[in-house]
């Protein structure tokens, strides 16, 4: 493996793209490329793609709806299909569901309020390439900051997600009305993770904790090993 290359996609209205890039630089190292939504292609040899939080396109129509149809997303979908790990955080998760890379949808929080605080999460699946650095059942603390984090899917889809071990993280308590307290899910192949909480905001003690660090470590370790 040459120099590790990751990419952070920036949409108009993204606001956590720099945080995500810093987390990638500090934890994964290598080269972090910043990619604009209007680009038609990803840079060569990108090994990890991250979609940041924020309010892409002002949340017009639906959160993530416009971003999911932006030019770069065709390249992201194609890369995800090839098995490149793709992480979507917060608005990034909304974009991944809108793009059809992950099932379900993120609705307005059940309590209508924007929720911005640290929440306790339970790691449900510690076998994925994003969560191998945690152990199953581990409780971690990661902040959320969202208005539309209420995960919805029909009961068949929820059963399938649970049955296939595709629930990566669950809220330890009801935070936003999410079905079965789901905070993060994987695609069937396990290389796409969408989550509402922000692991990039918890990578060192100065941020109040480092529980998010293992997620980025898991990805880089998995790639080095493969």
């Amino acid at each position: 493996m040459g120099v590790f290359r990751s990419a952070v996609i920036t949409f108009p209205g993204s606001n956590c793209d720099r945080d995500l890039a810093v987390a990638l630089e500090q934890v994964c190292g290598g080269e972090v490329l910043r990619v604009w939504h209007g680009d038609a292609a990803l840079p060569d040899k990108v090994e990890f793609i991250a979609l940041p939080g924020g309010f892409s396109y002002g949340d017009y129509l639906r959160s993530g709806a416009m971003a999911a149809r932006s030019p770069i997303m065709q390249a992201v979908i194609e890369a995800a299909t090839r098995g490149v790990p793709v992480l979507g955080v917060c608005n990034g998760f909304q974009v991944l569901t809108e793009a059809g890379l992950l099932p379900g949808a993120l609705l307005r929080n059940a309590g209508m309020n924007f929720i911005c605080r640290e929440v306790a999460l339970t790691v449900e699946n510690s076998q994925s390439q994003f969560t191998a650095g945690y152990h199953a059942g581990q409780q971690i603390t990661i902040p959320v900051a969202h208005h539309d984090g209420n995960f919805f899917a029909d009961s068949e889809t929820l059963d399938r997600l649970e049955g296939e071990g595709r629930v990566a993280f669950r809220y330890a308590e009801d935070v936003n009305g999410s079905a079965r307290q789901i905070a993060g899910i994987l695609n069937a192949a396990g290389n796409v993770l969408g989550m509402m909480p922000h692991p990039e905001r918890m990578i060192e003690a100065a941020q109040g904790g480092s529980d998010g660090r293992a997620l980025f470590e898991s990805v880089i370790k998995g790639l080095v090993a493969s």
């Binding site: 379900g104 949808a105 209420n150």
Partner: protein, 82 residues
């Protein structure tokens, strides 16, 4: 020609916005409203060349999220005030 697309949440999908509106209506002192569901109205001005199939595609791929929403398409005569 004008086209009116109404996007509404599917049955069973929680609508906290509708619930808040319902609560506010009760605050007006008006009773007897059983339920409130909020949706979206999208108006398009389209050429005659835009087919019904095109409109369906627009709705399915962009205007509505089929996981949570239904849509209804109405072609409206241009003289009618929308």
């Amino acid at each position: 020609m004008k086209v009116r697309v109404t996007v509404s949440l599917k049955n069973g999908v929680l609508d906290p916005q509708g619930r808040a509106i319902h609560h506010a209506i009760e605050g007006l002192g008006i009773h007897g409203v059983q339920d409130v569901r909020a949706g979206k109205l999208i108006e398009l001005e389209v050429d005659n060349s835009v087919s019904d199939a095109d409109l369906e595609t627009m709705c399915k791929q962009l205007l509505a999220n089929m996981v949570i929403e239904n849509y209804r398409i109405e072609r409206v005569a241009s003289q009618e005030t929308v």
